[in-house]
Subunit: 518 residues, 2 copies
């Protein structure tokens, strides 16, 4: 076998190169594609209009207006290619390791539920639920989140307490905003603790867990905002909101992270029929945020002093702060009176984690919330025939956003995440050696070594070496006729291009040593 | 702190015990439950009749006939509890490790596709596809397998070659047979190689991969049956089957693994209009099975000698046998002329792995096929506007069956698979120590050690120790007032009940050593 190092760089004909780039050309990176040109209001999902028929987008071919077949994924969904999946595996591994650190068990529930299970759990958002066609059986809907199926699971199996995680995709017929990582099909990554326990101990563990995951992922500064539904109810009550309007007003406050107070006030007054003075009073409170001192101040607030609801909330949050200090995760905590969380079912502490610096979706602005959750003590009882309830507290990671940020970070750092894990590429130097190649592959696999070879009978040697370089496979095991005759193998380091000739029976051990030293 | 070992076994009041048993009471183990009483022919899925309203089953409550709410999962689906998920993780880890050994990349596609994508791909089985309700957008269906979405992905992204795996659930409105592990929602675990390569090299890798996974899982003896669509077509042609009946007759042959020849013959003659003599001629061939010698014999068969299609198939299989020998995976190969595989899209080699001994579903009989696949060279072209095709070969593991067998095996061997991975349980010996407990937890977590503690302010010490024993948590870190004062921690081995007192700053190191030595 000759030296060929200098020729390698000139090589053009890469007959073996697996195209892992193409799958990464995902809709949101493809500005000429279908999805990114849709407006937020394009709710009809009609794929025969708009930019769908433009030529050049890899997603739209044939059909469309002209009635031909359109080759695309459904609106608001996308495929994930090899590199994206490699990044995802890394993020998931971090999160799973933290879940296991806390002794959580894993469960899985069906992707669809009886429609009745979901009915009445999501308020205004119920219109976003995907229904299955009635094909002559049960009436089914795709799950909207993992929390309601969890509550159904706990009630159905009469579980008194459980600490579980569940990672799966959920479905919402929302307006996709794919450039911001908002899809109709997306992963949720939930951790929940169900059971009758002492105040704030499980709640503090949830905060600690968010803290640990975000720290380990290393995505930069973050804040964990906390608030309490009882404090919000206390404020609403003390300001003069009638109790039947607590949830709608709460849902208006929830928009404070995206809209200025003036707009939120307008929604309260115009849409939800609140008196202007009441709205203004609320405004004085929900704009406040701070640390423990603010808790102390507000607990002694003239108006809130006489609200048992607010006082119960303050007591909980004080305890939460203390527990978080003991756990070593209080530094990022911020008490934010404007945090409301959209969902109806929360009954106690609520929290939300936001990345605070440098993490933007390009021109789309900051990432925003990457985790959120809270206490929901009534949900399991909604499924129990005797209304027996099991208190719950939990959280959900905005895993799609975390994926995006993580991938951006890794790419920015030129971090070498590989789509495959192949350790050795078996190369044959001359013709008629396919059986010898397969024997070597069988040998390496038998020893648990990750190895690949060409699918050609007589691949060109340069192409094989180039493939190993392109795919960052650290070692090449090379044989020609003379090597087979002499019972030896050449081991080549792909980076240094150093070659060593070893006996065939030393191959496995040598490969292990070399891989250990890399 | 006193000695309490003798008291431990008398302990009854387990206030902390997380109920991981309940979720395992899955439908197929619950003979009094809903699902197991249904007949195979109950296709309507109506949940208000049959055993649904029987009292006592944990799945059926309220509603049903009486119009109340039924607490259950949809027909043909189920939840998976903590122990089941722990077994699944182990099976998946084995399979993933083999996929990575072969340098496969991972992809993911949406759970639903445009209905058009699935149309015309599954023949008679198309009626089993779940459709989504038309909610004013695209017409969508749940995926039926992972192969058609893969072909769509390859065509849409204009990929020339890729070796990928995809593990996800698929959906079929079939008659569930849950005692046999047949569900309407179930995992598929696919590995496919797309690209224009030399004959039988990727095909042999697929066989090798099945061999490796089944060997590593250690589920006992298995056979990998192989056949070739061109051989079947050659047989059909030579026996006088008109070519338009090749696929229907093939689909009849496919039933040979479940039905006797007489029934298959009846289907050919009565349902599919074949002449009796033609059916009998076919019968002479499809009952044959053997090793390489049979290939040789049949290649020289008077009738098949003049069939180019059959001869091409024999040549492929001979080569496949040789490559498998070089790869070290030929020992389980059986050439089975009765293997036909149901799906229309296969065009070349087909294979199926069956467990052959001792693996039964109780009284339900043998497990049957646990993996299958083959070559499908035309599918990608069905999605390409210019009909440009990419040859593919692949396989799918019957992962639900593998889970069931693996779990049975582990339980039979009393193998201690745990639902959690907790390494240390932090125990406080007296009242008022919740903050000390949390500090120790924070310390252990910071060091990456998997640790849990009670959610009670003042849990009883015996209950805490019992919890550690019940959950097989190997170590306990115990502190009382005196330990905190002295800056020490007691480490207790849960199995031997040995205790050592160490300095607090030695905790992490000591725990690591002890865990390493277990």
């Amino acid at each position: 076998m000759e030296k060929m190092d200098n020729q390698l760089s000139d090589l053009v004909n890469k007959e073996l190169k697996v195209d892992v780039a193409a799958p990464n050309k995902s809709p949101e990176n493809d500005k000429a594609g279908n999805h990114s040109k849709r407006t937020e209001n394009d709710k009809d999902g009609n794929h025969s209009k708009g930019s769908q028929n433009e030529k050049g987008g890899s997603q739209s071919k044939g059909k469309g207006k002209s009635g031909k077949f359109v080759l695309k994924t459904p609106k608001g969904t996308r495929d994930y290619g090899p590199m994206e999946m490699a990044y995802r595996r890394e993020v998931f591994n971090v999160i799973y390791s933290v879940f296991h650190m806390h002794g959580a068990v894993q469960i899985e529930t069906p992707v669809f539920e009886l429609k009745d299970v979901l009915t009445g759990k999501y308020g205004e958002d119920s219109k976003l639920i995907y229904d299955l066609e009635d094909q002559g059986g049960e009436i089914l809907s795709l799950r909207y989140d993992l929390t309601v199926p969890f509550a159904r699971y706990v009630a159905m199996n009469k579980i008194d307490n459980i600490k579980r995680y569940h990672v799966a995709r959920v479905y919402r017929r929302d307006s996709p905003a794919m450039t911001r990582g908002r899809y109709r099909e997306f992963y949720q990554c939930d951790f929940d603790i169900a059971g009758q326990f002492d105040a704030m101990i499980p709640d503090a563990e949830c905060v600690q867990l968010v803290h640990q995951v975000l720290s380990k992922l290393g995505l930069g500064e973050f804040t964990i905002k906390i608030n309490h539904r009882k404090i919000l109810d206390g404020v609403f009550g003390s300001c003069g909101v009638p109790s039947e309007k607590f949830r709608p007003i709460c849902s208006a406050v929830d928009k404070l992270d995206k809209s200025p107070w003036e707009e939120v006030r307008k929604e309260m007054v115009d849409e939800k029929g609140l008196d202007e003075e009441v709205a203004d009073k609320i405004g004085n409170y929900v704009k406040l945020s701070g640390r423990e001192e603010l808790l102390e101040t507000l607990a002694n607030d003239e108006l809130l002093k006489s609200s048992p609801s607010a006082q119960a909330g303050f007591a909980d949050l004080k305890l939460l702060f203390q527990y978080c200090k003991s756990l070593g995760c209080a530094e990022h905590l911020v008490f934010d009176m404007g945090l409301a969380r959209g969902l109806d079912y929360y009954t106690g502490v609520i929290y939300e984690a936001v990345l605070t610096a440098g993490q933007n979706f390009g021109e789309e602005g900051p990432v925003g919330s990457v985790a959120g959750g809270g206490r929901y003590d009534g949900l399991v009882g909604m499924f129990d025939p005797k209304k027996k309830t099991v208190p719950c507290v939990g959280l959900s990671f905005g895993i799609e956003r975390l994926f995006t940020i993580y991938e951006q970070k890794m790419r920015a750092e030129s971090n070498k995440v590989r789509a495959t894990q192949t350790e050795v590429f078996v190369v044959t130097a001359c013709k008629g050696m396919v059986h010898e190649r397969l024997k070597l592959l069988g040998l390496l696999h038998e020893a648990g070594i990750k190895a690949e070879g060409s699918y050609k009978n007589n691949p060109k040697i340069l192409n094989q070496l180039q493939y190993a370089e392109d795919n960052k496979i650290p070692l090449v095991a090379l044989i020609g006729e003379s090597e087979v005759e002499a019972g030896v193998v050449k081991i080549r380091d792909t980076v240094t291009r150093e070659e060593t000739t070893i006996k065939r029976e030393e191959l496995v051990e040598t490969v292990r040593q070399k891989l250990g030293g890399l």
